[in-house]
Subunit: 237 residues, 4 copies
């Protein structure tokens, strides 16, 4: 019953290989922007034209990652027979990534970090107010907060999806936990993770000395519409 | 009607080539000092003895920049036939840079970032008070705030120019947006961007635990005059 | 009466050599995560199947460290005749490390830093409240504070051991001093030091703008139990 | 009347060459620990057995520094005929360094930075309270504040010397300006600059959420005496 990578059509195998390269390389952006420490963050990407996605193996440090070590999973989050050794298991956050791919068909990439400022807002359960033109462009308003949810079933995935479906933001701050971001592909989700931390930090710092000015909703809409039309649809950021 | 670089006088072509080298290289200072993330910041420089300027292409990451990719524009912000492929368009902030070159003839370089602490002051619409001798030297007083302005017409450029013309500062904090800085050339404008973030950060941190002492105006004037006489005129910093 | 490394059984000598390699290499994680400045932090590891441990030499900068320079001590913290030159003395914190190895038999690694945010909580004598799922996973609750203790006798070591024995946390914040962390081996203790600073920073920043939500004790227990069962016992983190 | 390096005794010339190497190399510690931006910080060292000192040239970026570019000055701060081109002038802070060498005969090295947290305390005119054992060890108590002084005469140098002579601290925070540190040689002064910023940052962050516990004076004295006896006299740190 277990799917073997070597038995899939050659074009899917090629696609998996390319996705593994992209996903492995994108983890370097998480360390470059200091969004993660130790092994606590992960990137995944849906394999085009398939029911598979590729994700970081659990517990492997960022320095040691290579394309060949990236784990291939079905959309229910189970590792296939992908050629990696048995001790390489998919990230402990795989169930949350899988839930997003199953329930948001236009999402091609998912990123999870515990980046400091985004997680600090999450620990207070407070959305980041829209006080920067960069936020209006990228997030279309506030960055919303998702519910407190324990690992172990689909409650994290469900919290992510329900919160994002009611928002224009590609980022959600899961309470007491940290941000999850989405995109049309893994690169777009990584960009959203970088921008999420950037605006969470800047608005935090601004508010330390007083209330930042919120941008009026009509101006947010104007900025967001322009930016999305120039750079493409929501998940294609 | 479109200007072609190859049809310009040889000395202008040589000048463009040198300017492209300088502008490409200076972007490394923005990442070194962590003034930018992803692709969100740009440097431009007026081509000496011409009505052209050189600016970063839109959406290209800092790692991937080379001199050949720098886009050449006329002073109304239109890309000329500069030998770069069509998908390389000038930065989305080009109109603001162009407006500055058109209206401030002594400005040879412009930089835009969303550096964290400067943008945090901008989000509250609050000028940075002059509490450091380094600020008196470099900025000649407070770093002023410019108006809230939407992208799409000349309102950002106009806000920059009007604010800077009433100040000795080579930096302006555009509300809810971020800093723009000017200089006699791109290097001076980059220095102003670095110093702007440095003093915005230091004064912010100082004020977290109480009110920093402002430097008396007469001392600011003395420091500024001395520094400008040693190191040259305003835009030659 | 002084023990000479060259007179120990060959398998112990081999074990010492491997431990020296690991301990020397792990100091690079302290600088990578900016937990230390100058020479102010140290890693040690118990040599398996022996009454020895290996620790950083005093006053040597991290750039200059090599495996051969790592000092070998008995469990009372005395340097043996280990082949290093006489001017290489064990870290001035060696007595505290030694006390831990003597009194906590399941501890195989100890780390001491003055990492900024952890030390900031220590300077107020305040434990870090458990407001992050990552804290529940790794620390099983608050990060506790140990007593104020002067260097020179066993009061630092005693303060560390007494505090850790009443807690699930592998990290203790010694008052006005800084964090000490333990693990089944040096790598686990380094991970605890990295995670200690990470959560100390995130919770600090969260609280700057309001009270972070504490995670209910039952949920902390559930998260901790799950994490420890997946990744092993307390000191095997 | 101008002294020429080539006419000095060979042993002094050799000593100058070695000092230049040390001073050039130590500037890398200022950038490594992010104590400086652009060109805004400098290290100097007294040439042993002479009335000369070596200092960074003005306006040269840290990447471009080499031993040959280090400027040699007499103790009144005048550049000698040291073989460097005329456009290399000693740092604009040279008068302050010179004043220290003239009035504190046991000082062999001086460092000046605008490091963020130390300067933030300086902008409020507030000494850093002694709340860390590391501060007691290195500074023997509070880090004191020196007077507001303008550049151009000996008032900065005088302010540094008068403040340091009344303190055990090798660092002084000059009001609205930044820290100056001293040591038995340049390396010790650089260490004091690194430690000054470290403790200024940690105590600042601690106080953001409440009052840090001050260490009782008797314990400060005990820690300081022990540390100085182990590692040598005040300026030999």
């Amino acid at each position: 019953m277990n799917i073997a990578l070597t038995e899939l059509p050659p074009e899917v195998q090629a696609s998996v290989a390319e996705t593994r390269e992209r996903v492995a390389a994108l983890h370097a952006e998480l360390t470059r922007y200091e969004l993660v420490v130790w092994t606590a963050g992960n990137v995944s990407e849906r394999v085009p034209d398939s029911d598979l996605f590729v994700i970081k193996p659990s517990g492997v440090s960022y320095d040691a990652l290579s394309a060949e070590m990236m784990v291939v999973c079905t959309l229910d989050g189970k590792k296939i027979d992908d050629g990696t050794p048995a001790h390489l298991q998919p990230s402990s956050d795989t169930a949350a990534h899988a839930y997003v791919y199953q329930h948001m068909s236009d999402v091609g990439g998912v990123v999870h970090t515990h980046s400091t400022y985004a997680t600090a807002w999450a620990a207070r359960g407070e959305p980041v107010p829209c006080a920067l033109t960069m936020m209006a462009d990228e997030f279309g308003g506030v960055i919303p907060v998702g519910p407190f949810a324990l690992i172990g079933d689909d409650s994290i995935g469900r919290g992510i999806v329900e919160t994002l479906q009611e928002s224009r933001s590609p980022a959600v701050l899961m309470r007491n936990h940290g941000p999850f971001t989405i995109g049309k592909d893994a690169r777009a989700a990584v960009k959203a993770a970088v921008m999420c931390e950037e605006v969470a930090r800047t608005v935090h710092i601004s508010r330390q000395l007083g209330a930042p000015d919120r941008i009026p909703q009509a101006d947010i809409d104007r900025l967001y519409d322009r930016y999305q039309n120039v750079y493409g649809q929501r998940t294609t950021q």
